[in-house]
């Protein structure tokens, strides 16, 4: 496998985009930083950092409630970001874009506002063995609260959901399917359209945990047909503390508010309170205004490059990584799904991933090691954890080369 030639293979936007990320220009432990941990949290381009800082320096005030100029500017910027996010996932209407603190809160919101009031003993919530803790624990909690049952579709050794088993389980009393778009531990891209179609044939609404979908794939919630789609800004080059729950209007309408507070009400009196309209009904208190505005800037950034170019770049780079890793004695790839995003888990001999992480870090290579908040995946594969290199639009083949060099050194140390 040849090194992918960034500048010729792909648009110049993506070839040059690494320069947009100031964090990548630093040295760590005396080596140029090789950041291969974007699946945990991505770096931000200057334009996002600057948009947030400029907002703070020039336009900040509380939103929605003010008649003065700054409040107007802040509200326009904040609601403008909602519009961008609406287009980004192609929702039908901005009322379907609920702004949350992240994927985790978005999923908890659905567990508490959608499931808790209507599920009970005999009902089932269906997930898969591939899920991140944030797409497991909220359902465990609501099952505990309601008496509903959590059922889990199995995965195969490559890290793919066993579709027949999944479809079989839909025959039961499943009242919600919650499933990831892309596995953060193994990179598997799930065949969502097929799965959602099947679920809908059984009238099962589907929540997609899109935390790892948005950085890699063009997401179109109408094309997917999903009922909820949750994602975080910080995985897509935006700030921490901001995320989105897309929900179909008809479902959101029926759901009671999640939290109470300012902004989510039309009228408060001690006799009773009238809740605000969508999406504000679900947004209690002062929101993360600067975070949401930064999230909007990240959307602009991604769309200027183009999700297709990003995907092509990452696919080529992932292929290169897999081939280079394959040349290292004792490497074992974990997660070998046919359809995989640029997230790769692996083991090197019997070196514990945590030790690998330290040795690589000493050479400026940042990977994630451990269970990746997906303990059931690890348990299923009989591993204490893995080493994981995750690629984003700003990585290049030199990053891969430094990774493999560093792994060779680890092999030498552990002899």
């Amino acid at each position: 496998m040849n090194r992918p030639q960034q500048s010729s293979d792909f648009g110049t936007a993506i070839a040059n985009c690494r320069n947009d990320f100031p964090a990548l220009k630093q040295s760590v432990n005396g080596h140029p930083l090789t950041y291969l941990d974007s699946a945990a949290s991505a770096q931000q381009p200057t334009v996002v950092i600057d948009t947030v800082a400029r907002y703070q320096r020039e336009d900040h005030a509380n939103v929605h409630r003010g008649v003065h100029t700054l409040s107007g500017r802040a509200t326009d910027a904040y609601e403008g970001a909602r519009d961008k996010l609406c287009k980004f996932v192609n929702a039908t209407s901005r009322t379907e874009i609920v702004l949350t603190s992240g994927t985790t809160e978005a999923i908890n919101l659905v567990a508490q506002s959608f499931c808790r009031p209507r599920f009970g003993p005999g009902d089932q919530i269906l997930i898969t063995h591939l899920e991140h803790h944030s797409n497991i624990v909220p359902w465990q909690i609501v099952c505990e609260q309601t008496g509903a049952e959590l059922v889990v579709a199995p995965i195969d050794d490559a890290g793919q959901i066993e579709l027949e088993a999944l479809f079989e389980m839909m025959q039961g009393k499943v009242r919600l399917l919650a499933i990831g778009h892309v596995s953060n531990a193994l990179g598997t891209i799930n065949p969502l359209r097929q799965i959602i179609e099947q679920a809908h044939q059984h009238d099962i609404p589907v929540l997609v945990d899109g935390a790892q979908g948005v950085p890699h794939l063009r997401v179109d919630v109408q094309e997917l047909g999903c009922d909820f789609y949750a994602f975080s800004a910080h995985k897509m080059f935006g700030p921490t503390g901001s995320g989105v729950l897309f929900g179909r209007e008809a479902l959101l309408e029926e759901m009671p508010p999640y939290q109470g507070g300012g902004d989510m009400i039309l009228e408060v009196s001690f006799d009773g309170t009238i809740f605000n309209e969508l999406p504000h009904k679900f947004e209690a208190g002062t929101p993360n205004i600067s975070g949401v505005i930064g999230h909007g800037a990240a959307v602009d950034y991604l769309q200027a490059i183009g999700m297709q170019d990003i995907h092509d770049h990452e696919t080529a780079l992932h292929d290169y990584m897999v081939s280079e890793l394959g040349k290292i004695d004792g490497i074992r790839l974990i997660g070998t799904a046919e359809n995989q995003a640029s997230v790769q888990s692996f083991m090197l001999n019997d070196i514990h991933p945590h030790d690998l992480g330290t040795i690589l870090d000493q050479q400026g290579v940042a990977i994630r090691t451990g269970h990746h908040c997906a303990m059931p995946v690890m348990e299923r594969l009989g591993l204490p954890g893995t080493a994981r290199a995750s690629l984003a639009l700003y990585n290049n083949s030199a990053d891969i080369d430094r990774l493999t060099e560093a792994l060779e050194k680890a092999r030498r140390i552990f002899g």
């Binding site: 514990h352 991933p353 945590h354 204490p384």
Partner: protein
């Protein structure tokens, strides 16, 4: 490449032969049938998970000790060294060793009687790994205090 040489040296300071040896062939690895004291140590960061089993008699002395579980080289080696060190000490003596080891690893000053344990010193340059080295010691403390709870590094 002087640079790389220093770094190699540093890494080799962390992964000393003694550490690698104990990690590869942990001593006193296994399970006690009727422990008088036991405790579990979990490091949620990297998934280290150790169980310590002890037999302490009326004389307040550690008669048997072993551990099982899985973890990184540092945590396994540390646990292995721990079992060697603590075997046949009194509870009070063991507590003193725990104190000096954890102090040395976190503040870097205490003197340790058992010289082998200085092999853990390399960890002090890696703040994120100190928890791995102390995990077994925290678990031992929990076991001795008969706090039959789980010790974590958080």
């Amino acid at each position: 490449m002087t640079h790389d040489v220093t770094q190699d040296a540093e890494l080799q300071d962390l992964y000393r032969e003694l550490i690698l040896d104990h990690a590869r062939s942990p001593r006193n690895f296994g399970r006690l049938n009727n422990p008088t004291h036991a405790a579990e140590g979990i490091n949620p960061l990297c998934g280290d998970k150790l169980k310590l089993y002890l037999k302490i008699d009326a004389d307040e002395r550690v008669h048997e000790i072993c551990f099982e579980g899985s973890g990184c080289a540092i945590s396994v080696a540390s646990a292995s060294l721990l079992t060697e060190t603590v075997a046949s000490l009194t509870v009070t003596e063991a507590e003193a060793v725990i104190e000096s080891v954890t102090t040395r690893l976190t503040h870097g000053s205490a003197v340790i009687k058992n010289e082998k344990l200085y092999a853990l010193d390399g960890v002090r340059k890696y703040p994120m790994r100190v928890k791995c080295a102390t995990l077994a010691w925290h678990a031992l403390h929990a076991a001795l205090s008969s706090q039959n709870t789980t010790a974590t590094t958080e």
